[in-house]
Amino acid sequence: MKYTEHNLSLTGGNPPKSLTTSQKFAVVLGLTGLGIFILAITNYNFPNKSMWLAAALTAITSGIIWFSLAAYSHKTEGIKNDGVWFKSIANRGVWAWILGVVLTGFYIVLYFYPQFLGLRNEGDNTGLVGLFDPLSKILSGNPASQWFVYGTLYTIAILAFGFKFFLKYKHNRYEKLRTISVMFFQLAFAFLIPEFMARLNSDSFSLPYYDLKNIWPLNYYNFEQYRVDSFISAGSIGTGLLIFGIASIFIITPILTYKYGKRWYCSWVCGCGGLAETAGDPFRHLSDKSQTAWKIERWVVHSVVVFVTIMTTAVVHSYLGNDSSKYWLTKDLFLIGVGTLLTLVFALVMLFKRKELAKDAVYGAIGYFTLIIVLLALHFFGSDGNLFFFEAEKLRASYGFMIGAIFSGVVGTGFYPIFGNRVWCRFGCPMAAILGFQQRLFSRFRITTNGGQCISCGNCSTYCEMGIDVRAYAQKGENIVRSSCVGCGICSAVCPRGVLKLENDSMNGRINSNEILLGNDVDLMDYVNQGK
């Protein structure tokens, strides 16, 4: 092999993976924008904050847009995964680790040390937060907070990387519409509307910060005392919002999930999903597809559901009264209500869906009985606001710390380049777990497999951000009905043989396990598929 060795020594013999000149300039432009932020963090005092902020945001946004145009605009319509596994940043290389460390560091500072970003409780903000003051004042009239900085950057990430995703999938209308949807909900519902709502606040009228699409239990703090008080004291608008918050999880969500699967939320509306689908898209293939990961996923995510239910129940319980003549909803009535609801769900599932859940029934029962014991404990020992030896407030704080900050932020987003873009949604999000539970048992949504056409190539599984082994189903001719599927549609897009289709159809025959695939001897198919 003298011939090749000679050449290898000349060039290193690596596949092409470097950026084009144009992309390099785009990266420099984007980094310049970030550089302005770094200068702000070091407390460099910008003379004209509005102008420098505008310059920084423009540089970042146009850097991403330029990069995307350079990557995709000259290419034919189709799947654009060439070289994904050759790139350091997309294959857990040095750049991936650097990015992971930077993101993780950013989240730690954001959640726990906002003073480093320039947040001041008294006097004017300085540093990065101070740089964002002018924009915050335009929108809400108030000075910025670290959350405003984060919200702005988050929105820009979804909009600019959404544009990139849009170009990458320009041949696919499902992907394009879905991306417009997450861009819209982020910009309007998560970013602008809450800021404008803050403008309505006065001394006599005050609404809590409310991203309307952020539903309990993802929005785990929605029913905390200060918010509920605030809703109730804000008259009919506030009461309306409170009712909307409750209806979101108990009425609106079940109806939409029945009709369309949980994708209506997770990959069309949700902000976490929005970031994962846009800025996180280059990391989607890094999710772990092993069966072990699936086992861990089910334990962890459902434990979070139990945790958030306990925490919320304890918190609401702690501020309710005992006297029904003062307010109709008392501590005991509330506990009875929660207990009845849980029992109803558990009984209905066991009655009608036991077969589909054969293996998981035990785990469901464990979760259910844990919750009931907690309710009883609250009733007997919780009159002083304690649950066993924990104060409800402590419980809330530890949930907020462990799940709200560490899991969804630091791990969920900071580790995009290492574990993929849906770590939070898959292992941590209680909302996704509840919607998934319904999707698995009571929804018209499925990914249909096209008869016997699968060639087991593995593109679908590789690019599933939720770590679903899609191929395991497709190669058996079986529809994919999985609680974790967020309906992003990428498995269907990357399939080279047109095997997968996301659709809403009748509940009958939705789960259709086949031993023998379509295309073979009809007698054999009948014998094996019906004879078992």
Binding site: Q453, N459, R497
Partner: protein, 437 residues
């Protein structure tokens, strides 16, 4: 306990092993010289293109085999002694069996071109071919141009692979249009144009004369037969079809022709030995099917069938309606039923092409009875289940055209073309409409 040995761990052999395991407790050993674990051969291209890593092409996790008591043995069999039920390996080892399934797949064709065994000259079939390609064509500095010989499915895949690394490709196709022995002309022409849009130097009606080697035996160019033009290149892809990988059987007592000859139960002339997949040749062709079918799906189906036979439920290999699929660069192709390059007697083609030149369909039907015979579709996904049913129910072409929407399998929100197709069909079939009314 009966010992079933399966020679080859491709889709045919592995499907057989899985189904035998489901049906029985027999001892199963799968022998492969190529890789330790089963992988999807059709996915090799995506490894070179960087869409996947090799491990992603393996449909089952590595623990699967032990858990299901399917023994995997790596080794190269050089001889089968049918009378003694014995396999002999190249290192002298032996392995005895009660039943043997030969599932050794294919190998790339070579037609005796001068230079065809030179360095940098390769087919694209085995994992080892991929490893060779990675060495000789890692990028366009090492490989300044590649020439591909043979205009079929593997040829166009190899072209797509090389283009993914910006390596200039010249694609020599013997026929008048790409794959026109299988595709009707209208479709072939769409693919011709699509290939050229991807900056591939497609040369139609062009044959390879010889491959030029340098003094170290490495490819340095090819000579075109018709013009004696020399094209400089360091890599030559030979993709002029495949043939059964059975040369190690030539001296055995197993009857072979192009492939291992099997009866309708996939049995060879030796009662304890079966053959399935690409390497098998039916003694009597089934319907319009080729006696040697080198297709993923047929390999899988033969594996499903032979497992039944070996587990006490003898079954004939009786495949249902023909179907197949491929992808030509960005254009997906599916076919259900039969559409031949040229309509046979009593057949007629209806061809529709979208103005963007990336979508078209061809429907083949009987021009007398109007019975629907088959459909080719490019750039529009169609439902296997629906066409399988329509073929069984012998629907006529009008029914198919009227109900095409039911068979659509494109992702949600995609544009629909059924109305346009219907209008085009009516415009070209007014006589028939009057006739059937």
């Amino acid at each position: 306990m009966e010992h079933i040995v399966i020679l080859g761990n491709g889709i045919s052999g592995i499907t057989a092993a899985r189904h035998i395991r489901k049906l029985s407790d027999k001892k199963i050993t799968v022998v492969s010289a190529e890789t330790e674990y089963f992988f999807s051969r059709t996915a090799l291209m995506y490894v070179y293109m960087g869409h996947m890593k090799f491990e992603h092409t393996q449909p089952y996790e590595n623990w699967f085999w032990k858990k299901n008591k399917i023994n995997l043995k790596q080794g190269k069999v050089i001889q089968i002694q049918g009378a003694q039920n014995m396999l002999i390996f190249d290192n002298g080892e032996t392995l005895s069996f009660d039943k043997l399934i030969v599932a050794t797949g294919s190998k790339p064709n070579k037609f005796g071109w001068p230079g065809q065994d030179g360095k940098g000259v390769l087919g694209l079939y085995h994992k080892q071919d991929l490893e060779t390609l990675e060495k000789v064509a890692p990028n366009n500095t090492v490989c300044k141009r590649a020439v591909i010989v043979g205009g079929g499915l593997i040829g166009i895949e190899l072209a797509e692979m090389l283009r993914s690394r910006d390596i200039p490709v010249t694609f020599l196709v013997r026929e008048k249009n790409f794959w026109d022995s299988v595709l009707p002309a209208g479709e072939s022409e769409v693919i011709n144009r699509h290939i050229r849009n991807h900056h591939i130097d497609l040369r139609l009606n062009t044959n390879l004369d010889k491959i030029l080697l340098d003094d170290q035996g490495a490819a340095k160019g090819v000579v075109i037969k018709e013009t004696q033009e020399v094209i400089e290149c360091s890599v030559v892809g030979l993709t002029a079809g495949v043939s059964p990988n059975i040369q190690f059987l030539k001296d055995s007592d197993i009857e072979t022709n192009r492939g291992v000859l099997v009866d309708d139960h996939l049995r060879t002339n030796i009662p304890s030995i079966y053959a399935i997949g690409d390497c098998a040749e039916q003694r009597t062709a089934i319907g319009n099917r080729n006696p040697v079918e080198a297709v993923w799906y047929t390999g899988r189906m033969m594996g499903e069938v032979v497992a039944q036979t070996l587990c006490g439920k003898p079954m004939k290999y009786k495949p249902g309606h023909w179907f197949n699929s491929a992808k030509f660069l960005d254009i997906e192709y599916q076919t259900y039923g039969w559409v031949f390059a040229k309509p046979k007697e009593h057949e007629k083609h209806f061809h529709w092409r979208h103005s963007d030149d990336t979508k078209c369909i061809t429907i083949n039907y009987n021009k007398d009875s109007l019975q629907f015979i088959g459909i080719n579709t490019f750039g529009i996904r169609l439902r296997h289940e629906v066409f399988d049913r329509w073929l069984t129910q012998k629907k006529d072409v009008y029914y198919v055209i009227e109900n095409l929407r039911e068979a659509n399998f494109d992702p949600e929100f995609y544009a629909h073309y059924e109305a346009e197709i219907k209008t085009a069909f009516k415009a070209s079939h007014t006589v028939h409409t009057l006739h059937t009314n």
